[in-house]
């Protein structure tokens, strides 16, 4: 008798995604799918609004990576008014560095949240541990000193974002052509030296290394399980600077294969010339792929693992992250790393990289300069803009058009989780085969293994569904007639 297993919802109570696994008569996996069943309509309801509202409104799609949406939208608006990269205009140093600073701070904070709050508990307690232990409150009881350091890191990231963007959440600093404020000496010194309960940037860098240490220890003890868990070959994509290494704020889109050979490199303004999107009736989330290679071969991975695969080296002013990246590269001897759980290794490297990049920027006197904005003449108006940044979860694209009155007529958002859609589905299929295939009884640990494969991508199914712990997961088993024959609830 064939069976159908449903995990619904995968993430939070509101329930925006579910997993179905189809087993044949021998309990072998026939199919596995991640269904994204939310529909939010941001691209539609922004239409008719003044163009300058887009980065303010559209960042509210997310409570975690709102800075990425804000900056991506701001870059698109730079294009629109004739002050962006598409028009050959270079942003002034101060606004670009302010935006970069906010971007790195958000990456630090977002990665710290995903890694320490959601992933580390599983690393320490195991996938089979009960959900009430396998979350950050379990971590509080097991290692309060670690949690104290993580809380300090998050707090520093939040205070940094507030200092740069004006608000802890959904900031208002980036405007078309620049920013509306620089960083005061007082704010800079507070972030550098730490005061009023805030740690210093040197402490941030020290604490940021905790993530790497935890991964190394976990990997040492569980090498076989970690390395064989959902090893999914895929192309890797991220923005790169002129040196060919990741640039989180701006660059060309580079795609590399398993040998790290460049498959293609493109100006992101030409994204639609190179990519197409497939749809499936069972999910609202599309499946982007490179047209030249087709859907099967042309799907890409984005995010931390993709970025460290594309990047050959970090710069000398981020020495700790540079050394960590070299160790990461050595592990796969020059080949791209396709091990899904190594995404957490990559994420911990990027926590450190972000911290070191922030320190470099905080010491840059350009942040205190007064030239904050380029105001091109009205004749420079293009009415169309594309922005791309490397959000914590991967490559994020905003594309807008506006009419002559300046009202938005079109908006298209391609978020990192969408880019990862095919690879995530392949990961789920792989884990389902390994953990459920041939088994007659479905356990809590098996269910969680499926979730771990998804969580490694830190997907943003609905404005960051970073939830775990007491998720009301329901696993239902149906017979071939569609009748419920078993149900598992945790």
């Amino acid at each position: 008798m064939s069976r159908k297993i449903i995990i619904d919802p995968v993430t939070r109570i509101e329930g925006h995604g579910k997993v179905t696994i189809h087993l044949d008569d021998n309990n072998q996996v026939i199919d596995a799918k991640l269904h994204v069943v939310e529909f939010r309509g941001f691209e539609k309801f922004i239409q008719g609004h003044p163009y300058w509202e887009a980065p303010m409104l559209l960042q509210r799609i997310c409570g975690i990576c709102f800075v990425s949406h804000h900056l991506c939208g701001a870059k698109a608006l730079d294009d629109m008014i004739g002050a962006g990269y598409s028009t050959g205009v270079s942003m002034l140093p101060t606004p670009e560095k302010m935006r970069r600073l906010a971007h790195y701070m958000q990456q630090l904070q977002s990665h710290v949240t995903a890694y320490f709050y959601l992933i580390v508990p599983e690393m320490l307690f195991g996938m089979d541990a009960p959900p009430e232990q396998r979350n950050v409150l379990g971590l509080v009881e097991a290692d309060p000193d670690l949690v104290k350091r993580v809380v300090a890191l998050r707090k520093w990231g939040q205070e940094g974002i507030k200092a740069v963007l004006g608000k802890r959440m959904h900031g208002i600093n980036s405007i078309p052509g620049g920013v509306n404020q620089n960083l005061s000496i007082e704010a800079r010194d507070r972030l550098l030296k730490g005061e009023d309960g805030l740690i210093s940037i040197d402490d941030v860098i020290e604490y940021a290394q905790d993530g790497l240490k935890l991964f190394y220890e976990f990997h040492e003890k569980n090498r076989q399980e970690v390395d064989s868990f959902a090893e999914i070959p895929a192309l890797n994509m991220c923005l790169v600077g002129d040196d060919g290494n990741v640039d989180y704020y701006h660059g060309k889109m580079r795609i590399v294969d398993k040998n790290k050979e460049i498959v293609t490199e493109l100006d992101y303004h030409d994204y639609l010339d190179h990519f197409s999107e497939a749809t499936e009736e069972w999910s609202y989330m599309k499946f982007p792929f490179l047209k030249a290679l087709g859907r099967e071969a042309g799907s890409v991975r984005v995010g931390p693992l993709a970025r460290v695969n594309v990047t050959k080296s970090y710069s000398d002013d981020t020495p700790l992250a540079k050394a960590a990246l070299e160790r990461f590269h050595d592990y796969t001897q020059g080949k791209a790393n396709d091990k899904t759980l190594h995404t957490n290794w990559a994420r911990s490297i990027e926590i450190l990289h972000s911290a070191e990049l922030i320190k470099v920027l905080l010491n840059d006197p350009d942040l205190q300069k007064e030239q904050l904005i380029i105001t091109p003449p009205k004749s420079a108006w293009t009415g169309e803009g594309v922005g791309v940044v490397e959000a914590p979860r991967g490559t994020l694209l905003h594309h807008y058009r506006a009419n002559e009155e300046g009202n938005i007529t079109f908006a298209n958002l391609v978020v990192a989780t969408t880019q990862n859609n095919t690879v995530m589905n392949r990961s789920i299929h792989s884990v389902a085969e390994s953990y459920l295939g041939g088994k007659t009884e479905i356990t809590e640990g098996m269910m969680n293994a499926i979730e771990v494969s998804i969580r490694a991508y830190d997907p943003c199914l609905s404005c960051a569904t970073h939830a775990m712990g007491q998720m009301p997961l329901v696993l239902s088993v149906f017979n071939a007639k569609g009748e419920l024959v078993n149900e598992f609830v945790r």
Partner: protein, 166 residues
């Protein structure tokens, strides 16, 4: 300690906003003003600011609690959280003194006050005095502004506390 409506008057003899008018106190409004009566917590903070009450205390508005709030409360002696409730058991408003409890309510979007207190105790080896003022709300739809009933409940709280202050 949960206080029913009948117990409220006697308990409020010991509850005064004056206790919070110092820099070692924190008054923390939880909610979302874009969700009708979920804005009660923030509306209470608005009232304090308008009346210049407890102006020596730290006043905070937030959508929900975060684990970092364990750090925030570790610097304070007295904390008053103010939140809306849908509970029909609360007729108008309630005040309760809370105890730490690791109730494993955590998601990245929500965590309970007792869990914040327990985290503070575990990580910072310190436990402040924490009270929760809950005010009954009725509607949580996507709309700004309190319902008439919720506004009435807020006014009732304010009238009572004004008497205490006066």
């Amino acid at each position: 300690m949960n206080l029913s409506a009948s117990d409220l008057a006697s308990s409020l003899e010991h509850f005064s906003l004056d206790q919070y008018n110092n820099n070692s106190s924190l008054i923390y409004g939880i909610g979302n003003v874009g969700r009708q009566d979920d804005g009660l917590g923030w509306a209470f903070i608005d009232w304090l600011e308008q009346e210049k009450l407890c102006d020596k205390a730290e006043l905070v508005r937030n959508y929900q609690l975060h684990l970092e709030d364990a750090d925030l409360i570790s610097y304070k002696k007295k904390i008053l959280f103010v939140d809306a409730t849908k509970s029909k058991g609360v007729k108008t408003f309630e005040i309760e003194q809370l105890s730490p409890k690791m109730d494993f309510s955590f998601t990245s979007h929500a965590i309970s006050i007792p869990s914040i207190m327990a985290t503070c105790q575990q990580c910072f080896d310190y436990l402040p005095d924490v009270h929760l003022l809950t005010i009954r709300g009725y509607e949580w739809e996507l709309q700004e502004g309190l319902t008439q009933h919720a506004q009435h409940n807020l006014t009732t709280v304010i009238d009572y506390l004004k008497r205490e202050v006066g």
